[in-house]
Symmetry: D2
Subunit: 146 residues, 4 copies
C-alpha cells in the first residue's frame, strides 16, 4: 500500500573536515559519494532497524549499488555543516532509488539519485525486499513516485 | 570544426587493490569515482598537455565537477585489471562531458558520465575553454555528440 | 607552568562504517590515521577554540605532521563504537605530541603517537605556539611528560 | 641463511594526484600510508610471487598490520613523482618489518617502519612464514638487521 500522508525524510549532518577538502579548498566530489553512502547506512540501521553488520552477517543480504549520480550546485567548504536529507524516489520489488539532497543552511549544494538492489549474498542473486523491511521503507517513499 | 575521422579513446589500466575493496570483497563504488577522476587528470596531462599542477597554479583555471553519474553492471574484484576508456560525449563552450567505460577483459563493468565546467580560479566564474586546449580535445569527441 | 592536577582527556566516538572495512571485514588501518587526524581536528575546534578553517584562513597557521605511528592490538569490526581518547604526551615550543588511544568497550584496540609542529603558512617556517593556545593546551598534558 | 650480498630494494613510483592533496596543496599524510601499503602489496605480488587475492583466497593467509609509523621530512606536492623504496628491516618467524623510504628526485620525503605478522585466516592465529616465501624474502633483508 502506498503511503497516504507526508513521507518522512531522514536527515543527518556532516561536518566538512580538512580531509574532505582538495587543493582548491573545497570538498573533493568523491567524498560526497562516501557521505551519501554513509547516510544510506545510517538509515538502514536507525530508520529500518537493520544495521549493516546484521544485514551482511546475520541475514546474508546486501544492497550493491546499481546506479548512482549527483548534481553539484555549489561547492562545500571546510567547517560547513552539510545537512543530508534522504527520501525514497522509487521503491521497486528488489530495488530502492534514494534521493539525497545536501544543503548548508538555505543553500542547496547537491542532489543525488542512488539506486541499490537487494541481493542474496549466498546465491549472489537478486531477491525481493522482505516484507518486514518494505513496510518500514514505505514511510520514506515520495507519493509522486510510487 | 567537428572531428572527421574516428574519435580517439584515452585508455588507462587500474589494478584493483586490497584498499579498493569492501567487506563483500568487491570494489567499494566510491573508489570508482576516484579512478574516473584520476583518468580525467591523466588525460589532461598526457593527451591535452596540461598537467593539473600547471592548470591550477600557472594558468589559474580549474574544472569543477558539475554532474557525475555511473551505472555499475558487474562488480570488480581484488587483482582485476580494470581498463578505463575515456572519450568526450559532448564538448560545450565551457564544459566537457566525459564518457568513461570500464572493462575487465571482455566484461563491461561500468559506464560513467562525468561533466566538468571550466572556471577561472581568480574570479571563480565560468570561462570558455581556450582554443589551444579545445583543438586537442576535439580528437576525443564522439561524432554523434557534436 | 606544568599542570598541577589530573590532565584532561578529549574523547570522541567513531562508529565503524562499511566504508572503513576491508575484504577481511576489519578496519583498513589507513582509516585509523584518518580518524586520529579527525579527533585532533575536533580537539582544536572544540577544546582549544580554534577550528581548522579559522586556523588556516584567518590566523594563517598550520600544524603539519612531523611524525606519526600507531600500534594495533586488535582489529575493529563493522558496527563497533570506537572510543578515541586524546591527551598530550609532550608539549614543545612549537610542537605537540598527541597520544591517542582507541578502545571498543573495555578492549584496547590501538595506541598512537602523533606529532605536529606549528608553521606560519605565509613564511612556511616553524613558529612558537601562541600563548593563548598554549594555555588551553596545558590542561591536556600528561604530568609525567612535561 | 642470511643474505650474503647487497640486499635488494623494491622500488615503485607514485605520481602525486589531485586527490592525494589537502587544502594546503600538499599530500594529506594519510594517503602516504595507503601508498606504503600499496607498495607492500606490489612487493608480495611481484617480488614474492604471491598476489593478495591468491594469498587471501587460495592460501587463506593474511598479513595484518601490527605496528606502523612514519617520519615526514618534507611535503610532497601535486605532480611530484614519489619514489618508494621498500626493504626489510627485520624478518622474524611470523613477522616482517618493512622499511620504506620516499624520495622525489634527491629529496628525501619520508621514512616509514611498517610491521606485519602472518596470520592463518581460518584459525585467526599467528603462523610461521612458509619456507617458500621466506626464501624469496631473504633477498630484501638489510644485513645489519638479521
Amino acid at each position: 500500500m502506498a503511503p497516504t500522508s507526508v513521507p518522512l525524510t531522514f536527515v543527518r549532518e556532516r561536518r566538512i573536515r580538512f580531509s574532505h577538502c582538495d587543493p582548491a579548498g573545497i570538498v573533493y566530489f568523491v567524498n560526497f559519494f562516501d557521505m551519501i553512502s554513509g547516510v544510506v547506512e545510517d538509515w538502514f540501521g536507525e530508520a529500518i532497524g537493520l544495521p549493516f553488520h546484521e544485514m551482511h552477517i546475520v541475514r546474508r543480504i546486501g544492497f550493491p549499488i546499481v546506479n548512482t549520480g549527483c548534481e553539484f550546485f555549489r561547492p562545500c567548504h571546510l567547517g560547513d555543516n552539510l545537512s543530508l536529507e534522504l527520501a525514497i524516489g522509487r521503491l521497486g520489488r528488489s530495488s530502492i532509488e534514494f534521493h539525497v539532497r545536501g544543503r548548508v543552511g538555505d543553500e542547496e549544494k547537491l542532489s543525488a539519485r542512488h539506486k541499490v538492489a537487494l541481493m542474496n549474498l549466498d546465491t549472489l542473486r537478486a531477491m525481493a525486499i522482505p516484507d518486514d523491511l518494505r513496510t518500514k521503507m514505505l514511510d520514506y517513499v515520495a507519493p509522486s513516485s510510487t
